[in-house]
């Protein structure tokens, strides 16, 4: 979570307009779902990975660790997709070619889709996306709420961590029953502090002329026509190649 956030704020493409990053992510994702998976998904997986690592400069290790969790779930699911069970005469397990094919297409398609999303979340901070929502007309109140929550998550995560450490230092987690009790106390404490924090933040904002609306400057984004065209061209190319491949395979 921290690593994703860190890279989202510091990658090479950080200052690009979020649409320029959303376009390849959504475009490739769409290809994965509308075109035959066996030819498209590997291409999408490869290109999303390459732009993440060599374009935006995200380390391989980070990208792999982001993909690892869903990949583990996918691998665990393979046997259930590949093997068909029949209970009519006892238990009959069969490994069919059809089942294997189904498992393979599912796994590779899901991985390709994941790589598109990984590209987006590793290159675009959540708040950029939210600010974009404001431009398309989502109510200001809702956006303010999301942005405040984003900011305060980190304030509270830090308090929760130090609180937990302080409890652990006094053996609050040495036994299961104590752990449950400590966790409850920590939760109650954080709740109180959240209320307190809200009150103090209000005072702090009032000192800066807060009158009920949290207006801030939007980042100075500029849509680059060149990047948009490059993105569309890239997606079209991948789409064409994979369609061609699919035809020659069948």
């Amino acid at each position: 979570m921290r690593a994703i956030d860190h890279h989202a704020w510091t990658n090479r493409w950080r200052d690009w307009h979020p649409v320029e990053k959303g376009l390849p992510a959504v475009g490739l994702l769409t290809l994965t779902f509308v075109l035959p998976p066996l030819s498209t998904a590997p291409l999408v997986l490869a290109s999303a990975t390459l732009i993440t690592v060599y374009g935006a400069g995200i380390p391989w290790k980070t990208l792999l660790s982001v993909l690892a969790a869903p990949a583990a779930f996918l691998l665990a699911g393979i046997p259930f997709l590949a093997i068909s069970m029949d209970f009519t005469a006892g238990i009959d397990l069969t490994l069919s070619l059809e089942g294997l094919r189904l498992a393979l297409t599912t796994v590779i398609r899901a991985l390709a889709a994941m790589s598109c999303l990984a590209f987006l979340i590793l290159t675009t901070p959540l708040t950029d996306g939210v600010l974009l929502l404001r431009r398309v007309g989502v109510p200001a109140g809702m956006i303010e709420l999301i942005l405040l929550m984003y900011r305060l998550i980190f304030v509270f995560a830090e308090r929760a961590l130090t609180g937990r450490q302080a409890q652990a230092g006094r053996l609050g987690y040495s036994r299961l029953d104590r752990s449950v009790r400590s966790l409850g106390l920590l939760g109650g404490n954080l709740f109180q502090r959240a209320l307190d924090q809200a009150r103090r933040l209000e005072i702090g904002l009032m000192a800066r002329g807060y009158t009920g609306e949290l207006c801030v400057l939007s980042p100075p984004w500029e849509l680059s026509r060149w990047r948009l065209v490059a993105g569309i061209a890239g997606i079209s190319l991948i789409g064409l190649v994979s369609s061609g491949l699919a035809r020659s395979l069948s």
Partner: protein, 280 residues
């Protein structure tokens, strides 16, 4: 006597719970000064500061801004807060936006400035605190000292005449303190009036040109730093120790009064070396 920029007279404040925080407090904030409000922890300094830009409304007493009694209407408060900027002790209580630039733009936009003007103000405030390189950083990735400076920049961008800082050096290491005071000194030299609360007698002694000793809801004494801090009775009453630098200077037989001794540790050390060399 010249009318102070901000004058507080007979201020009383009782918390909603019934505890009295301020009991008939007087304070003068004169233009172009660095005023330290010196008091022990928990003595109610923050409550006093909250009164200085209308975040708390006194139960009794009067506050005058440039000679005019302040009002508590919406418009009067906006005007007041534009002139008197308050920086809280905990930066997380004042920073709310995702990036530094966005956060600092909040105050200027509240003043009704255009995006372009607000952008200019942001650049100016970040430069003044030497944090222009942090402009596009995410707020939550900053260190405590950096957050503190962003909070100050956020208030500075509103171009207040008086900057009120609650315990500005609390939680900073000595490097951070030096850095922050350097930036504040520059602001002061370019004309800002600074008011800060502290429990640190040494800081008040070395850095403020006026001190107000605050204890139990009143200001015991306000005046020139060396004079007030040589007043043992007042310090004892406020449960403060005299500054070490002052005590050493006195032990060396230097008469400390307004302007007679540069109050820096360097000046004192130079004096000490001189004396030691004289003994050989």
């Amino acid at each position: 006597m010249k009318e102070p920029l901000l004058a507080v007279h007979g201020l009383e404040y009782v918390y909603p719970g019934g505890v009295t925080a301020l009991r008939g407090l007087d304070l003068r904030i004169e233009r172009g000064r660095k005023l330290a409000i010196l008091g022990a922890n928990g003595s109610g300094k923050t409550t006093l500061l909250l009164h200085l830009n209308g975040l708390c409304k006194p139960t009794q007493g009067e506050i005058r801004l440039e000679g005019q009694p302040v009002g508590y209407s919406h418009r009067a408060l906006n005007d007041w807060r534009r002139q008197v900027g308050l920086i809280l002790q905990e930066p997380d209580d004042q920073l709310f936006a995702a990036t530094v630039r966005q956060d600092v733009s909040f105050g200027p936009l509240n003043l009704g400035l255009s995006n372009a003007e607000a952008g200019e103000r942001v650049g100016e405030a970040l430069d003044a605190l030497h944090i222009a390189h942090l402009a596009d950083r995410a707020t939550h990735t900053l260190s405590f000292g950096q957050k503190k400076r962003v909070a100050i920049a956020g208030v500075l961008a509103m171009r207040p005449e008086i900057l009120v800082l609650d315990e500005p050096t609390a939680g900073l290491d000595s490097h951070g303190v030096t850095h922050l005071l350097g930036a504040l000194q520059q602001l002061h030299e370019s004309g800002a009036t600074l008011v800060f609360s502290t429990h640190d007698v040494e800081l008040a002694y070395t850095w403020a040109d006026h001190v107000a000793v605050f204890h139990d809801g009143v200001v015991l004494r306000q005046g020139e730093t060396a004079t007030v801090l040589s007043d043992r009775d007042v310090l004892r009453q406020a449960r403060l120790r005299p500054p070490l630098l002052l005590e050493v200077a006195e032990a060396l037989g230097v008469k400390v009064s307004a302007g007679s001794l540069s109050r820096s540790r360097e000046a004192l050390l130079a004096l000490l070396r001189e004396r030691l060399a004289g003994q050989d």
